[in-house]
Symmetry: C2
Subunit: 192 residues, 2 copies
Amino acid sequence: MLKHGILGLIGYEDTTGYELMRVFRDSLRHFWPVQTSQIYRELRALEERGWVRVTRVEQSGRPDKNVFSITRAGREELIDWLRADNLPKYERSPLLLKTFFLGELEPEEALQFFKGVEAEASVFTEEGDETMDSVEDYAATLDDPRKALYWRMTAEFGLMYEEMVRAWCARCVGMIEEMKGAGEHEEAVRKE
Amino acid sequence: MLKHGILGLIGYEDTTGYELMRVFRDSLRHFWPVQTSQIYRELRALEERGWVRVTRVEQSGRPDKNVFSITRAGREELIDWLRADNLPKYERSPLLLKTFFLGELEPEEALQFFKGVEAEASVFTEEGDETMDSVEDYAATLDDPRKALYWRMTAEFGLMYEEMVRAWCARCVGMIEEMKGAGEHEEAVRKE
DNA sequence: TTAATCATGTAACACGTTACATGATTGC
DNA sequence: GCAATCATGTAACGTGTTACATGATTAA
């Protein structure tokens, strides 16, 4: 997937590893965090496959840079990848893995867990404008305004997802409190 | 994360690599798909760290099995992991990565993409009962009924997530159609 | 008799994470 | 003078994926 993400960005315009790193950091981090080391590794792999071409550009008063451009084979590959039915059916969710084992903790601690998740889930909602700003900035540098439409969709997804997580957390908190209530009731009955 | 997932399951009851594989396949696959090869590798790693202990059990008419049990250090580690603030801030989403580059395709193809995603997103809703059945079966084999509460939460999440994805797809379809309408209007104006 | 289940893995490769390493320029 | 930015990476390790490998038993 990362290979094709990088390929897609190079497809927008010729670029360097460093610039790619910034685009990922500013515009794609919410759904595809990447390390610098990965970018340089994948760029070499893309070159080996003949999907991109590199040109060394000398600069005065700055380090030389390696500018990558997409080849015809690369663009074909990108289109094939977009058309292919290649979305994984299931994805890993650390959140749900932890939830699954939360019975190991006291209900009180489990409650705290969901409060924490709920709070985290408001981060994107709060910084949502910021992210959209940098996406719109990026859109302005490019030609085709239709692309911004799809970028907006990814931001929409982020907002909807966080709202859903908050609703889920609220429900989980409710379920735990209900259980605690039932437990206390049982204890009370036993004491009678 | 997988290490702790396996540790958590062994914490419920002593078990073998093969049984772990089945529990992952039947009850955890929606949020943590795993290969058999990973399980055996991680089991060895858990043993090296002293979090589990292995006992070889001979069987008549069946292959021997390696039964793993959690150690005191292992249970401490599990609790520490549950309490720790260790959820990754951002997760990779192949769905959003593809969406981000969908401007490379014709709007018609993009529409098909979202129709496909929407259809896929109904799978869990449809097989939801099945999964909950196998979770309830698993719950019945264990002692503490409180654990089932947290398992139910993960299923709830699945249902809510799919519903959200469907709503998002519908919205994306609407956005594309709106854009297509605007484009046609522009063309019509130009022709006048 | 054939497929599924029980039960174990190894090997090779792909991808993600963490830490380290260098060095000039620009802005405060 | 110091931090941030520009620009390049390497090394080691951890985790996920794919394919292969073996062999007995049980149910249709």
